[in-house]
Symmetry: C2
Subunit: 351 residues, 2 copies
């Protein structure tokens, strides 16, 4: 009988954090690509554009004028998907027609006053200011809302409609779907094994050394065993930390530094300003924040769409939408293609 090799033979893997399976078919990378090619990503963006509503001093859609900020800048999204005062849809009249109330706020956070930089081109102290702003907004909105979702859509390919470096923060009165799944899986793991799922997972990856991308004093970056996107990574603190505001000053500095390294590797991979969606997951907040959330471990997910080059992406379409996620190279192959690649790529402009 043939000996199983993950890099040759298709198989399925389980994501115990989000309770999903993925089909891994490494041999599919051999297939030629004649499909859609994305527009090239390297664009010249002016450092300051007074008509860009994210720039210092610019006027936004609601008529407000931005301050001349020189670090991060947080403001209310002018077209929010969540508003604080939506009425309740009322009780459902049928089990197949269930609707519930959704309240919340949507904010935008600029990372830097210049439009022509990205996180990997910013200095470590500048990125540290972003980490501090993430911790503060989690604290501020987490006082009222059970879930504060920080996420960055980077690049036009990821639906980002403004090149100025920024992320979004959507806080909601409900635990979103993915948060519910991570809550369920981490709670069950803790009650069965007596320790947090992601603490054990990080330790195992440090032992196995097959999927590590970066390690530092306080952080790990790895390609999860169950990764779906070709170059997906998971960023984990080494210490048991439930939420961003708990990070110590040393952990925050180290986070800024490992993020710069990770994003620089990403930019180098296809020599482009690497697109992705990323976001933070930590223990729920709001009125239940004081409950026992020890089964939670803070982490960030990076989901980049590119597959083969700066202009050829992975499409999560037909089979993936109708049946199951599918990837064309193994997570292990991905982490090894990221070793090296530490040169800062001046992809957009010199910061």
């Amino acid at each position: 009988a043939t000996v199983f090799r993950a890099s040759e033979h298709q198989h399925i893997r389980y994501n115990p954090l989000q309770e999903e399976w993925v089909l891994v078919s490494a041999h599919r990378m051999k297939r030629p690509w004649q499909g859609q090619v994305e527009p090239p990503l390297l664009q010249t963006v002016p450092r300051h554009d007074p008509r860009n509503p994210l720039c210092p001093g610019a006027t936004r859609a609601n008529g407000e004028v931005n301050p001349h900020y020189d670090s991060t800048f947080l403001f209310d999204n002018d077209f929010p998907a969540l508003q604080p005062d939506a009425p309740n849809p009322g009780p459902s009249d049928h089990p197949l027609f269930q609707a519930e109330a959704a309240r919340g706020v949507c904010k935008v956070m600029c990372f830097h006053p210049w439009s022509d930089v990205t996180l990997p081109l910013m200095s470590v102290p500048e990125i540290r200011a972003v980490v501090d702003a993430w911790a503060s907004v989690t604290e501020e909105l987490g006082a009222q809302y059970p879930w504060v979702q920080i996420f960055e859509n980077k690049g036009a390919m990821m639906g980002c409609s403004n090149p100025h470096p920024h992320c979004q923060v959507w806080a909601s009165s409900f635990l979103p779907d993915v948060a519910q799944r991570e809550e369920r899986s981490q709670r069950a793991y803790q009650s069965q094994h007596g320790e947090p799922l992601l603490m054990e997972y990080g330790r195992q990856e440090l032992l196995r050394k097959e999927r590590l991308v970066l390690t530092s004093e306080h952080w790990l970056v790895l390609v999860p065993f169950w990764a779906v996107w070709p170059f997906q990574t998971l960023l984990l603190p080494r210490r048991h930390v439930r939420r961003l505001p708990e990070l110590t000053p040393a952990e925050r500095d180290d986070l800024a530094s490992i993020m710069k390294k990770l994003l620089t590797k990403y930019d180098n991979l296809f020599e482009t300003s690497f697109p992705y969606s990323m976001g933070w997951h930590g223990a729920p907040t709001g009125s239940e924040a004081g409950a026992n959330w020890d089964h939670w471990q803070l982490h960030a997910h990076y989901y980049p769409p590119l597959l083969r080059s700066a202009t050829v992406r992975k499409f999560m379409v037909g089979y993936e939408m109708l049946a199951q996620a599918q990837r064309d190279l193994t997570p292990e192959q991905m982490s090894s293609s990221c070793s090296g690649l530490s040169r800062v790529l001046v992809a957009v402009a010199t910061a």
Copy 2:
């Protein structure tokens, strides 16, 4: 207190079939769009191109020559994600590192000998031949495999790399993730309510008349209450049918006719050859096909990416990947914008 109106006030809705929530924020359609614009979809495709491996008489990647087919044509995918003989990864050594065997086959089905047609431009008898071919391939591969996933990726935006009208069929030795969720939810509904979830759901939509797009003697097309994609639809038989091969000749003719009408509406919506991924779900097959699958109702999902025009799509990115699906108009608004729109749009060429 303000009266709740779904078209004005954000809320969340539950998908009881796939066990997921969606955030509905109708007011977001007011937001201006400055992000990525897709290349226009209307291309001139030659009716026959001897270098296109999907055309009659063309030579494929493996050296085989296609027959001069004049209706549908089924062949093995030259770059399959699933192969019949992959070895087993063996037992997992840790609960966080679970891998299992995956075996299967991937086929490609051409709908028509001409490259310059799409399903809505084909005649009803030509579409009926496609329905028959779907039923046969389900029967053929279902004899061996528990799941036969038929899906069509249409348009470059949906990762389709060949304009020739075709779909794919991936049969697997495992129940894919989405199939598992639909199995669980339909089984639970039947045991609690004594009838199939989708039979009751179709009946309710016929009574409520808020989300119907098309009805015919044997079929319904509706925008599900829990739709995620802006113009997502669900195609359901009126009779309790578990799998495609069970469809009667009259139901097959009527299916061909309602598909032509639905896809014509889609083409008219933004006056383009409307991109989508679609696929069929029916009761599991394989060695367990004889078990009781009465809780299953055959259905097709249509997932089209466009949001505002032929070139502006909905991006399922940051919040959607990290937290929860989100839509910018209500399912009810969508179904009403589809009424009318029945002119056959000669989007690609005259068939």
